[in-house]
Amino acid sequence: MKTLMIKTHEVWLEVLMASFMSNTDNKKVLSNFSDILFRHFTWLENEHIVLDESYNYDRDHIPIKVEKLSDILKDITNRLNEIDLQLMAIDNKALSSRISSDLYYITSVLMHMKDEKITAFNMERKYQGTILSQEATDALTLFLFEESYKEYELIMIYNYLKMHSSDSYMNRIFQILIEESFFHLKSFGDMQAQMGLLGVPRIVMKDLYQVEDVVQFLKDGINEELAAKEECIKLSEAVAKESPELEKFFNFINQQENYHIALMEDALKHFKKANNE
């Protein structure tokens, strides 16, 4: 089942990347499918926990550089078929049939998707026709790589914490933070693809999500969110002259970080109280 979870993790990300690449109605469908595959991933993770089997979030490199959408859809379909075969080895038949039914529908839709030419890897570094200064373009490039990884990392960490916690108050906060990070990851991923800079976020190291000190993790997280706010402000200022839309977007992200900080402060306060710290 370990392999099954790894393969599901990989295909979830691959479908998410395909959604970033698309510039048509396919985008929304692929994005929804990636959400379904993420849920499969969490169901399989839960099964590991129920069966008391060890697992981690390691995975292989996922090649995504294609010229046509149909190229990546073929690879996704092959991966989904392989997962479907592996599901037969699971003892929990309710789980395997639930996933299998989803995979059957997803592959049938992928098969009929209209093809698209992909520009997500052309490195043109232009966003929606806006020509930014060299300095602003470089700043935006670094920000997108840094933050898209960070959002993926946060999804994995909050998901792991949620999976291993029975505290409903904390889990509510973790779930909100997962959803917030998904929104940011999708926003940044779409921008990376628009700029021809799409890349799969790198694998998250175990030390990061197998959190031993939750209090320290939350304190560090609050500081990281404060640093991210600074980056958003800097970026917003850097792009303001050439792109009022991007300026507004990064101000909006900056404001959202306030909510994340408030949630983490709330989690910190609750966790300390619940553990008499």
Partner: protein, 151 residues
């Protein structure tokens, strides 16, 4: 960081990133200032000229600069013998002064992790249980002008 096509390629697709199945050595480079770290995994093989790096992988808790440095240095280290690795580490350490402070700390961390992995391998020749060696960077990640402001 000066962002050119080569750097973007390393950011989009870092080479050798991840763990390495069947590795026989590991080394860690750490920045005590901010908790960032790099782990390097080696699969060392032996031919008529001695030991060389057959395969290499790395993982990082750090910024994009660290990931890029890891991608470049591990690519260069592949198939080098241990003398070659030590020369590569030395060459990297010698250019740190010319880099911006934050880039220097990241590159140093990767170079030290590589050296630590080789040293771990050498120690394990005599003692298979020898723990993974960790080396700490001496460069500060804080840019010099900011460091002066703090003082």
């Amino acid at each position: 960081m000066n962002v050119d096509a080569q750097l973007i390629e390393h950011m989009m697709n870092p080479k050798n990133y991840g763990t390495l199945a069947g590795n026989n050595a590991e080394g860690i480079g750490k920045n005590p200032e901010n908790g960032e770290k790099v782990a390097i995994y080696l699969r060392v093989a032996t031919d008529e000229d001695g030991e060389y790096i057959e395969n290499i992988a790395y993982q990082a808790i750090g910024c994009t600069t660290t990931v890029v440095a890891g991608s470049m240095i591990t690519e260069e280290a592949k198939e080098l013998n241990f003398n070659g690795v030590r020369n590569l580490v030395e060459a990297t350490m010698n250019i740190l002064d010319k880099l911006p402070a934050e880039d220097a700390a990241c590159s140093e961390m990767v170079a030290l992790a590589l050296l630590a992995a080789v040293e771990t391998y050498e120690k394990r020749v005599d003692d298979a249980e020898y723990p993974v060696i960790t080396k700490f960077v001496s460069n500060s990640c804080v840019p010099k002008e900011n460091a002066q402001e703090v003082k």
